[in-house]
């Protein structure tokens, strides 16, 4: 198992290499550059800027320079914010983005899994309908719509929660709406997946065996049903965590959360090459590691699956 994990970790390096190549290529294929702005600079100024940032080098040379610096931990300059390096921009916001993502993830697991389990155990009963109703709301409401509605109700109407001003645990009230808006969809997703998986397991022969040998209902549910039902659920947790961390930029924009997500779309529009590359690599690395964690967990909870 350890050998497997090490090999998979080493595999992440070529994966990131390919991702960086594709992104670099696509980025430079996009027309325009960081200095073609609304206020056009003189041709000479653009030339000087390009020279200063080595943007007049051939693309492969630029890539090698970028990759060389990146390996040493230098993500290069930001063309949009010349006073800050990409390291500063990423370093300032990454903690907040992860904080928000992980909070939303925990909320969606803590609410979603029990919701799905209860719905399946009381199949076609009132708890099932209540859980289904909650999932339906979560599925039907995109995070940006949920954000708008939450803001209108709880900030503008009831004035209970602040519209912005995320400050981590120093101001917990400002964390509620971004977290809930972000978690709403994953809650529904996890609950539905858990429910489907539980219902599948309920019909297995080993459950009948467990029942016929007179095991306590509690033991059957916790040891035999939930444990087996969660195996497929684990496979969607990785993508969900990745979705929450990389997909929070709309929430970050709406609630003015000082994470890195807001730079996400902006940097592409502004051709801020350093920021685009840094964001892509960071997210890609996070996703690759989460993917590995899921596979390891998968083998851990399902002894039928063996990696060699």
């Amino acid at each position: 198992m350890l050998g497997y994990i090490v090999r998979r970790l080493l595999w992440i390096i070529p994966v990131l290499f390919v991702v960086s190549l594709i992104t670099f290529g696509m980025m430079h294929a996009a027309p325009g550059g960081p200095f073609s702005k609304e206020k056009p600079l003189t041709k000479h100024a653009v030339e000087l800027l390009n020279k200063r940032y080595h943007l007049d080098d051939p693309i492969p040379i630029q890539y090698l320079k970028w990759a060389g610096a990146m390996v040493t931990g230098d993500l290069g300059p930001s063309y949009r914010y010349p006073e800050r390096s990409v390291n500063d921009i990423v370093g300032d916001g990454i903690g907040t983005t992860f904080h928000l993502g992980i909070m939303a993830f925990l909320l969606s697991v803590i609410v979603g899994v029990p919701l799905g389990v209860i719905a399946a155990l009381r199949h076609n009963g009132i708890p099932d309908y209540v859980a289904t109703f909650i999932s339906v709301i979560g599925i039907a409401t995109p995070s940006f719509v949920a954000s708008i509605l939450l803001l209108v109700f709880f900030s503008v109407g009831l004035r209970w929660l602040p519209t912005h001003g995320w400050d981590g645990w120093a101001k917990p009230t400002a964390m509620i709406m971004p977290t809930v808006a972000l978690a709403l969809f994953p809650i529904a997703n996890i609950a539905r997946f858990t429910r489907a998986s539980m219902l599948e397991v309920t019909r297995k022969d080993y459950i009948r065996t467990a029942q016929s040998k007179g095991l306590k209902e509690r033991t059957i549910v916790t040891v035999h049903m939930i444990r087996n039902a969660l195996i497929p659920v684990v496979t969607i947790l990785g993508p969900i965590l990745a979705f929450l961390i990389t997909g929070s930029f709309i929430i970050e924009t709406i609630f003015s959360v000082p994470g890195i997500g807001r730079f996400y779309v902006q940097s592409i529009g502004q051709r801020d090459y350093g920021v685009i590359m840094a964001m892509t690599m960071l997210y890609a690395a996070a996703i690759a590691v989460l993917n590995l964690v899921v596979d390891v967990l998968y083998a851990y909870i399902d002894p039928r699956i063996r990696y060699s």
Binding site: V19, V136, A196, E200, R203, V265, N291
Partner: protein, 313 residues
Amino acid sequence: MANRTAALEGGAAARRSSSLWGDAWRRLIRNRLAVLGGILVLTFLTLALIGPLIAPYYYGQQHLEALKANNYRPIPPFSPGFLLGSDDLGRDLLSRLLDGAQISMTVAFVVQAVVLLIGLPVGAAAAWYGGRVDTYLMRFTDVVYAFPDLLFIILLSVSLAATPIGEAMNGVLLVFIAIGLTSWVGMARLVRGQLLSLKEQEFVEAARAIGVSDFRIVTRHLLPNAMGPMIVAVTLGIPGAILAEATLAFIGIGAQAPRASWGKLIADGQQYVRSEPHLVVFPALAVAIALVSFTFLGDGLRDALDPKLKGKQ
């Protein structure tokens, strides 16, 4: 005794004639939520197809006279000539919602077609052949998977915006393809995961023992048993695709003016949400109903298509 035998034979005959799909259909139409979802899906599809014919106006047409009569405020819903009102530029909201339906229904099917076309063979091959094939295919999916979806879609739409494919359908087609190219990995991993545990089971061993070909085992024995989760994944994937398109449109990527993606309508209406809530509420409702109806239909299909349910309620 003779009667009994006849009855038994009759029963056996009836069981033989109940095919998987016939049973599934019967189970499906007994499920009220699934029927509701199916009807709504068909309604959306019809509206998307005939939308331009039944729309009161062209979706980009500005009714400046009517707007002026309303002091240049968005026309409220249920006004004469404007059933759902208009936006701040005097464009009929109903006509715009119908155009949005066309975009959303197209995205639903284009994306899922791409997902199945790539994800199914990749996942099945990886699970069945295992070993090196599995390693290479999964490393390939790792690369695609490691790409942050939205970043990839945005980059792709920016880089290819000036090409013919980028300009097709006012910039919408490129977004569809980009969403599909980033979405198939989940399907591949799901199919692989399902088949990995299925292929260890006795019926597969039995099929192999009597010399059934690999292709037949995968398509006739493994995939049908993995159908439930796959159908859940596809149908959950349709709302996912609709949602992705709406989200991108909300931040201004994809459908360009005057096309009216639901996400774009919500983004445009956002600034009026307190005074003219209909500009957000109607498109949000359209998104919500579309997402829910596909979900209900998918749930129903899941319950109906699972052969292991056969004979049970």
